[in-house]
């Protein structure tokens, strides 16, 4: 199975793989944006307890959280075109990348909606009452008081989602999308140095994950400056 | 008999206990009084090594430990001679009242379960909680939890029971029931050391009173002496302040 381990290949592979980092990041960015739109749309019916829609939201979230991402990927890549053919829509020419982004968008939408719900309910009810008491409208109370606080609260969860999403993109190679993991497969097959190529790839994922984690931690600190003890705790 | 010689304890540069000598007789009830920050709780916690003293010697029953080189075995032996009742009860939250009392008997003293259960039920009965044996700590009032804590300590049949401000976390109306339990076991001749702020109780229940201030023992003696005619100015000041506080609250 493969050739003798040779660390020099790692130096060789890392730049080659980094050439495909942009595609990985492109998938992450697009699907997270899509996920935020979907997540908000899915969260609203449950936050405002809209009948029927609230039920649909619940099933949507349960399905995308309850099934493996790989199944979702295959279901949408292979299954959606079949369904669309039923309404005479031909999507066979749409690139696999689009399906990947759609799947990850739908998937993170479910998780983001849960994060939004948790964050909004974490904001003290008294804050809204105080906002009304100073004469704000419902909209103003939400935008100026609830939203900023909820955003700060949800940041750690959001950070986890982005990193999780980054790691999940490694599965898009199964549909033949040439991002970093896809490239690593071809490199591995061509050189037969599998361990080195996956080690290189792991190091890249690790570096990006750690960088993202730091970035979000910094952002959280900025957003929570009004809570003095948070700043102190993080400094220790 | 309990003997403490040259016990010192400091946190970094800050000295909390400076060279404490103390000798207590078997069957004696000792009350340790003093203003907060005087080191009385630290002294108590040093006796079972919840705080590690820097130097000195502790002898309880037939176990003598030199604090400087004390190893895990020494500490373990010392702890088996003592039991403690905590200010915040510290019951095991995932165990019922009965299981709390049984825990040490089964795990440490290796009693058979049936024996441990019988003994524990007896102890719970003694503190008046026989009917609460299957309740979890979260279902008990503070006073009831503390009584379970006392039963847990007594069940171990230790040489000495250490009470660390057993009533100061309680609602005022719950203090009485706990003091009553402690008073009744004091009559049985169990050796106890009680750190407390309850002056009247200390005077009433103890046969020996130790007054501490600033990490040192200022004065000790029988309660009628220490409360009636304290020799030291600092003791007088403290007692005066404490009795004044009473007159306000009453």
């Amino acid at each position: 199975m493969g050739r003798r381990f040779d660390i020099t290949f790692v130096y060789d592979f890392i730049p080659k793989l980094l050439g495909f980092l942009q595609i990985t990041l492109f998938i992450v960015a697009c699907s997270m944006l899509l996920g935020m739109v979907i997540g908000t749309a899915v969260a609203l019916p449950r936050l405002f307890r809209i009948p029927v829609l609230q039920r649909v939201s619940r099933i949507y979230v349960s399905f995308f959280r309850g099934t493996p991402i790989l199944i979702q990927l295959f279901l949408i890549y292979f299954g959606l075109p079949e369904l669309l053919k039923g309404i005479h829509l031909d999507v066979t020419r749409v690139p696999a990348l689009a399906f990947v982004i759609l799947t990850y968008g739908l998937n993170s939408g479910a998780f983001i909606s849960e994060a939004i719900r948790a964050a909004v309910s974490a904001v003290d009810r008294g804050q809204v009452e105080a906002a009304y008491a100073v004469g704000m409208s419902g909209f103003h109370a939400f935008r100026r008081i609830v939203l900023p606080q909820a955003a700060a609260v949800s940041l750690p969860a959001f950070s986890n989602l982005v990193i999780g999403n980054l790691k999940d993109t490694s599965l898009s190679f199964t549909l033949g999308v040439m991002e970093m993991t896809g490239k690593s497969q071809t490199l591995g097959l061509a050189t037969q140095h599998f361990i080195e190529v996956y080690l290189s790839l792991s190091l890249i994922y690790l570096a990006i994950s750690l960088a993202l984690e730091r970035l979000f931690a910094l952002a959280e600190r900025r957003m929570r400056l009004h809570e003095p003890d948070v700043g102190v705790l993080r400094n220790q | 008999m309990i003997q403490v010689r040259g016990l010192t304890k400091s946190y970094g540069k800050q000295k909390v206990l400076g060279h404490i000598d103390l000798q207590l007789q078997k069957g004696e009830v000792t009350a340790i009084l003093g203003p907060s920050g005087s080191g009385k709780t630290t002294l108590l916690r040093c006796l079972n090594f919840l705080e590690k003293p820097n130097a000195g010697e502790i002898a309880i029953g037939d176990v003598t430990v030199n604090c400087k080189g004390a190893g895990k075995r020494d500490i373990h032996k010392l702890r088996q001679k003592t039991a403690m009742v905590f200010q915040n009860y510290h019951l095991f939250k995932h165990k019922t009242a009965l299981e709390n009392v049984m825990e040490g008997l089964v795990v440490v003293q290796k009693l058979l379960k049936a024996d441990a259960r019988a003994r524990s039920q007896l102890m719970l009965d003694k503190v008046g909680l026989a009917d609460k044996q299957d309740a979890y700590p979260s279902q008990l009032s503070g006073g009831q939890q503390q009584r379970v804590g006392i039963a847990r300590a007594l069940a171990l049949n230790p040489e000495v029971v250490l009470f660390d401000e057993p009533t100061s976390a309680l609602d005022p109306e719950r203090v009485g029931e706990v003091l009553e339990v402690i008073r009744s076991i004091a009559r049985e001749g169990i050796t106890m050391i009680i750190v407390t702020h309850e002056m009247a109780f200390a005077r009433d229940v103890s046969n020996h009173v130790v007054f501490m201030d600033d990490g040192a023992i200022v004065e000790e003696g029988p309660p009628q002496e220490l409360f009636g005619s304290p020799k030291e100015e600092r003791t007088r000041q403290f007692l005066k302040r404490m009795t004044q506080e009473w007159s306000y609250t009453i």
């Binding site: 309850g66 199944i71 | 003592t82 095991f92």
Partner: protein, 236 residues
């Protein structure tokens, strides 16, 4: 090609034959991960000298990289390591005699162990120090206090998170198809390809995973209620 709802049922029945493997791929790493996770959490919580930095590195690596990488690194890497030591020790042993399945178990156990250790650690922090003191005061040793007082409560606190890890393992078991282990997802691919009915086959697989997920969640919620009965409050 038209949608054939009846085939969803057929496919579902066929997938059931691969279900034991999926459950095995979930259960074994869950147990392995719990073992690793408890050990790691203990080492980090009590800052065992020399070890705690190493295990911190392990946790950071696993959390920062996709599970797929763990699988590939173990799958390609451990035979090399095993053969190296077999040669060194002069053993008549070849890694080729080890079934692929064992590598998958190992890889997923390592993945789960890192995540579980984080949750167990959080659980350990949730147990207040006073109870440990009380355990010492009744004469317990540090290990007795950990095993009898701290760990049971820590596990109870982290149960919801641990359930999520198990569900993650269930979903992650689909990755095993990349190293030719035949579980439900691999079987779904075969069923889909043989019949050219992708949507139906993957919907059937999705329903299966969804059902097990809901089952796990329900069971966990029930278990949580039972083991947390000491949090019930109220007067007995």
């Amino acid at each position: 090609m038209k949608l054939d709802p009846g085939f969803i049922y057929d496919a579902f029945l066929q997938l059931l034959s691969a279900l034991p493997m999926t459950l095995l791929l979930t259960g074994v790493p869950a147990a392995g991960g719990l073992l690793i996770g408890t050990g790691v959490a203990f080492i980090r919580h009590y800052r065992v000298r020399g070890l705690h930095l190493i295990v911190a590195g392990y946790v950071a690596f696993i959390r920062g990289t996709p599970a797929l990488m763990h699988l590939f690194l173990v799958y390609f890497g451990s035979p090399v390591i095993i053969d190296f030591f077999a040669r060194k020790l002069g053993l008549d042993f070849n890694s080729a005699s080890i079934p692929i399945l064992y590598y998958v178990f190992l890889a997923f156990s390592l993945t789960a162990g890192a995540y579980l250790s984080e949750f167990i650690r959080a659980g350990l922090l949730a147990v207040d120090k006073g109870q440990v003191e009380a355990a010492y005061a009744v004469g317990m040793t540090a290990l007795q206090a950990f095993r009898r007082i701290v760990l049971p409560q820590a596990l109870a606190v982290s149960l919801p998170n641990m359930t999520n890890v198990v569900i993650g393992l269930l979903h992650g078991s689909t990755l095993a198809f990349t190293v030719t282990v035949l579980e439900v997802f691999g079987k779904a691919n075969i069923v889909a390809n043989q019949n050219w009915k992708y949507f139906e086959a993957f919907i059937a697989a999705a329903i299966l995973y969804w059902g097990i997920t809901i089952l796990l969640e329900t069971a966990s919620a029930r278990l949580e209620k039972r083991i947390n009965r000491y949090h019930r409050g109220g007067v007995a």
